[in-house]
């Protein structure tokens, strides 16, 4: 009996840690973007949504942006009507935290195309989705189901050209648009650990 209880709690804890599960509805969240606007995930129901966990100084993210690969993906997908949400869960005390003004400047400097950059310095959204690293990507279907959770591509390096790698997000979106099932729905995310407020 005691074993059963322990097991149950362990698995609950485990599943709670992975509050999102591919194939299930993606949990709704509320956040504030760097322009002060309140964003709900449910605002975008009916559209394909890509969520990117972001850290301005993480070498892995930086490599994607410095090479321009990430901006290219964002622009290409935006042209297809995809919603792109950047979630920055770095806590306020950390070096890599960006105030809304700094973030707006960075968005312009780096030529980022995104529907919204959400300031998640409390870490609520990050914890809700079990985000572990930056970059960590999520793709949500038009009906709100999570279809992809994991790394942006199969090349966990902080240098080199990401365009040479297989981009799981692009592939998943293409499959969704073509009405096909998403083949690779879960991979191990790579990158820097998220600087949560702990």
């Amino acid at each position: 009996m005691k074993t059963a209880i322990a097991l149950f709690t362990a698995l609950t804890f485990a599943t709670a840690a992975f509050a999102v599960e591919v194939g299930k509805p993606a949990p709704d969240f509320t956040g504030t973007d760097i322009n002060g606007k309140t964003i709900h995930l449910s605002d975008y129901k009916g559209k394909i949504v890509v969520i990117e966990s972001y850290n301005s100084d993480c070498p892995y993210c930086m490599n994607h942006y410095k090479t321009g690969a990430m901006q290219e993906t964002q622009k290409d997908l935006a042209a297809k009507g995809i919603v792109w949400l950047i979630v920055d869960s770095v806590n306020k005390k950390n070096f890599s935290y960006r105030t809304p003004e700094q973030a707006r400047k960075e968005l312009a400097d780096r030529k980022i195309t995104a529907t919204a950059w959400i300031d998640d310095n409390s870490g609520d959204i990050g914890h809700l989705y079990g985000m572990e690293t930056t970059p960590d990507m999520y793709v949500i279907n038009k009906d709100g189901t999570l279809v992809y959770d994991g790394a942006i591509d199969d090349r966990p390096e902080p240098f080199g050209d990401p365009r040479t790698a297989k981009n799981y997000v692009r592939t998943a979106v293409a499959e969704l648009i073509a009405g096909k099932p998403v083949e690779v729905s879960q991979t191990k995310p790579y990158g820097c650990a998220i600087k949560y407020a702990d």
Partner: protein, 751 residues
């Protein structure tokens, strides 16, 4: 056009980032991007022979707060990589990683290193390599993180000479000590992994449990953990949960998350254990068997798993142990302790003190039986008191986190010098050079002072008997002590006191039975002669202690001899002028003080440097190829290497201060028939020198249920079979008798 611009800027960024220069744009903002890690390449040899394997140590020294990553970085991060540029004929093996730490937070746990880590890489040299000097180069790339992460890389190089004679480099010792921190396989442990439940979803819990194969003493595991190797299709989460399980020594639950494909059939990683065995890090490769409820002993999985890991399933072993009844309990151990203490009385170490005891009895026998009983009791108190002190030392050592060993105080040079001085004084006292009374007055009122002399003398005899007993072990004593060392303080104290009772019991019994005293000769003039004669065995003990000190001090030990002579001279002046003299006592005292102070400052401190041992040279003093055996120095790697080659291994744990080792075991091993047998079996002979009680050897001895030396192991030819522990030599056993035991074990090892 845009594409070209992009590519160009990408190349530029590539060039910049791969150099990790400060030229990063202000996005990196403000902090110095110089490396926070210093990387060096060290080699274990200055010169190596073609065909040899040497070890390269890639040393990463991180600034405080910065860390680098393990081969499995965990939820985030990047493992350090080494890209070798080696001349032809040299090949580098996989990196051997020391055990990492876990970094929080728990949701994003990573594995890595802080402060410093040395990654070990075996380099194999081709046998046809030409002589000369070669350049070994490598590019080391890593990710260093504190609040931010910075990828970095650095070129390192080292030079190596190829020649006819191998020569270690100055870094060989450091490399060796880092090598010893690398987890290895351990056949003494039976460990297995199984799923706890049927698969459902992409998260599943895994149970890892294990027990020790040879359970000759109680092993207690306080903490256990599992560090998984990296894998693409699944992730073993960092959180570890301890699971109560009466059938295994440790049992943990890990959560496994699957990304793609099927659930893994096999997991690999490091099991880390901490407990009565000290620290142990075991490399494991475990097939994952189907689920069962935790705590049940399931029927054995198919035998393929057994041959795979070379180890029987945990449940089988536990049943086997229950059959042989090899689970010791405290009362049994106490019985062993008592018998062991009893036998100690006839071990060569304690015999000189016996003579004193007999003397004491005879001189007291003329007084009242009550007096005799009291003295017997005081002797016992002296013994028990000393054992209490020993127990306290063991408890203290273990509380400090080190492994304790029986006889370990002989590894301390200060102890050795003090004991040698003490025994010298006892010998001089027996020779009649001075009297050992507390009051300074000699035998005036025979009744009173003899009584006082008797009491303090009896106590002191008890202490001396215990101190001299420690370099000896006896049968029954070894398992009792081995058991004690792994237990609670209370158990340690009770077992030690029981040994003391065993040691003191003959005299207590004798003193309680005055009838037996009738068999002792009547006191007379012979007593004086007997007393002087007993000084000589004491002197022999001094010589033995002196020779032990030689291994600590080398040729400096000459000054210890000088100090002892000065001491003897001072003792004579004390006896002659202070005790027996009438006038000029003051001057005599002054001279004595000058002699002692001068002897201490000049001989002990200045010349002998009595607190420092000489640098440990190789163990040639112990490992002289006598009897034709080619002793190699023991190390866990040497054992593993020999076993991997399918050779049986003979290991002799010995120390220069260990009387049983040198009197019985050494002559038994180093003779023609044993060496012939070893050659015939193509066996490897390893010598583990415990003289300075190095912790690595203390740990190893405790793994086999021993408390100290001697310990002789025979590893059979079959790499999967467990080691055979040879029984302790009994006191009356001649070397020839022990030799038979060794030959018999070697016979069994050949199959």
């Amino acid at each position: 056009m845009r594409r070209i611009v992009f590519l160009f800027s990408a190349c530029l960024c590539l060039a910049i980032s791969s150099r990790a220069q400060p030229a990063l744009p202000s996005i990196g903002g403000g902090f110095s991007s110089a490396h926070h890690t210093q990387v060096k390449l060290l080699l274990s040899a200055d010169t190596a022979k073609p065909g040899d394997t040497i070890y390269a140590g890639v040393d990463l020294k991180m600034e405080p707060g910065w860390h680098t990553y393990w081969k499995n970085p965990g939820a985030a991060g990047m493992a350090t990589e080494i890209k070798w540029q080696l001349p032809p004929g040299i090949s580098a093996d996989e990196i051997q990683w020391p055990l990492p730490e876990k970094f929080p937070p728990i949701e994003v746990t990573t594995y890595g290193y802080t402060n410093e880590v040395m990654l070990i890489v075996p380099l194999t040299l081709a046998s046809n390599l030409p002589s000369g000097e070669i350049d070994l180069k490598a590019n080391v790339s890593w990710l260093e993180c504190k609040d931010v992460c910075i990828p970095a890389n650095q070129d390192v190089e080292a030079k190596l000479k190829i020649g006819n004679e191998a020569k270690n480099s100055a870094d060989a010792a450091t490399i060796e000590s880092w090598k010893s921190k690398i987890p290895r396989r351990d056949e003494n442990w039976a460990i297995r992994a199984q799923w706890e439940k049927q698969a459902g979803g992409d998260v599943r819990s895994l149970i890892i449990e294990g027990t020790v194969l040879r359970q000759t003493k109680i092993v207690r595991i306080d903490t256990a953990d599992f560090f998984p190797d990296a894998s693409d299709n699944f992730e073993i989460q960092a959180a570890t949960e301890k699971v109560p399980n009466t059938n295994a020594l440790f049992c943990l639950r890990k959560i496994v998350k699957k990304f793609s494909g099927n659930w893994p059939k096999e997991i690999s990683g490091i099991v880390t254990l901490e407990g009565s065995i000290g620290h142990e890090n075991i490399e494991v490769n475990l097939p994952v068997v189907g689920q069962s409820s935790v705590g049940e002993t399931t029927s054995a999985p198919d035998s393929s798993s057994e041959s795979r890991t070379g180890v029987a399933p945990v449940s089988n072993l536990i049943e086997k142990n229950a059959e042989t009844g090899a689970t010791p309990v405290l009362p049994l151990m106490l019985l062993y302790a008592f018998i062991g203490g009893l036998i100690l009385n006839i071990m060569p170490c304690v015999l000189p003190v016996i003579a004193l005891k007999i003397l004491g009895f005879v001189s007291e026998a003329r007084s009242s039986p009550r007096r005799v009983r009291a003295l017997g009791g005081i002797y016992a108190v002296g013994v028990l008191f000393s054992f209490l002190v020993l127990a306290a030392i063991v408890i203290g050592v273990e509380a400090a986190g080190h492994q304790a060993g029986w006889g370990m105080q002989f590894g301390s040079p200060v102890f050795l010098v003090c004991l040698t001085t003490l025994v010298t004084l006892v010998a001089l006292n027996l020779f009649g050079v001075f009297e050992a009374t507390l009051g300074g007055r000699t035998l005036d009122a025979a009744g009173n002072l003899a009584a006082r002399h008797g009491a303090s003398g009896a106590f002191f005899n008890g202490v001396l008997a215990t101190t001299l007993a420690t370099p000896c072990t006896a049968p029954f004593l070894a398992p009792a002590l081995g058991f004690a060392f792994s237990q609670t303080a209370f158990t340690i104290v009770s077992i030690f006191l029981t040994v003391g009772l065993g040691l003191a019991s003959p005299y207590v019994l004798l003193s309680w039975n005055p009838a037996w005293l009738k068999f002792l000769p009547k006191p007379g003039a012979w007593m004086e002669k007997f007393k002087i004669a007993m000084g000589f065995p004491m002197l022999a003990t001094v010589v033995w202690l002196f020779s032990v000190a030689t291994s600590d001090y080398g040729s400096r030990v000459f000054w210890l001899g000088v100090f002892l002579v000065v001491l003897a001279f001072a003792a004579w002046i004390f006896g002659e002028f202070v005790q027996r003299g009438r006038k000029r006592k003051g001057i005599a005292f002054t001279i004595i003080l000058i002699l002692l102070a001068g002897g201490y400052v000049y001989a002990l401190e200045d010349k002998l440097h009595w607190r420092e041992m000489i640098d440990e040279t190789d163990t040639t003093s112990l490992a002289e190829p006598s009897g034709g055996i080619d002793w190699q120095p023991w190390s866990p790697e040497a054992v593993a290497q020999a076993r991997a080659a399918g050779k049986p291994v003979l290991v002799d744990f010995t120390a220069s201060w260990c009387v049983t080792c040198n009197a019985i075991v050494k002559p038994a091993l180093e003779n023609a028939s044993v060496s012939a047998k070893l050659k015939e079996m193509n066996a490897v002979a390893l010598l583990a020198d415990y003289t300075r009680t190095p912790p690595l050897i203390t740990d190893e001895i405790s793994k086999f249920g021993g408390a100290g030396v001697p310990l002789v192991l025979v590893y059979p030819k079959n790499p999967g079979a467990a080691a055979m522990v040879l029984p302790q030599p009994s006191p009356l056993q001649l070397p020839s008798g022990y030799e038979k035991i060794v030959l018999d074990a070697l016979d069994r090892a050949a199959h």
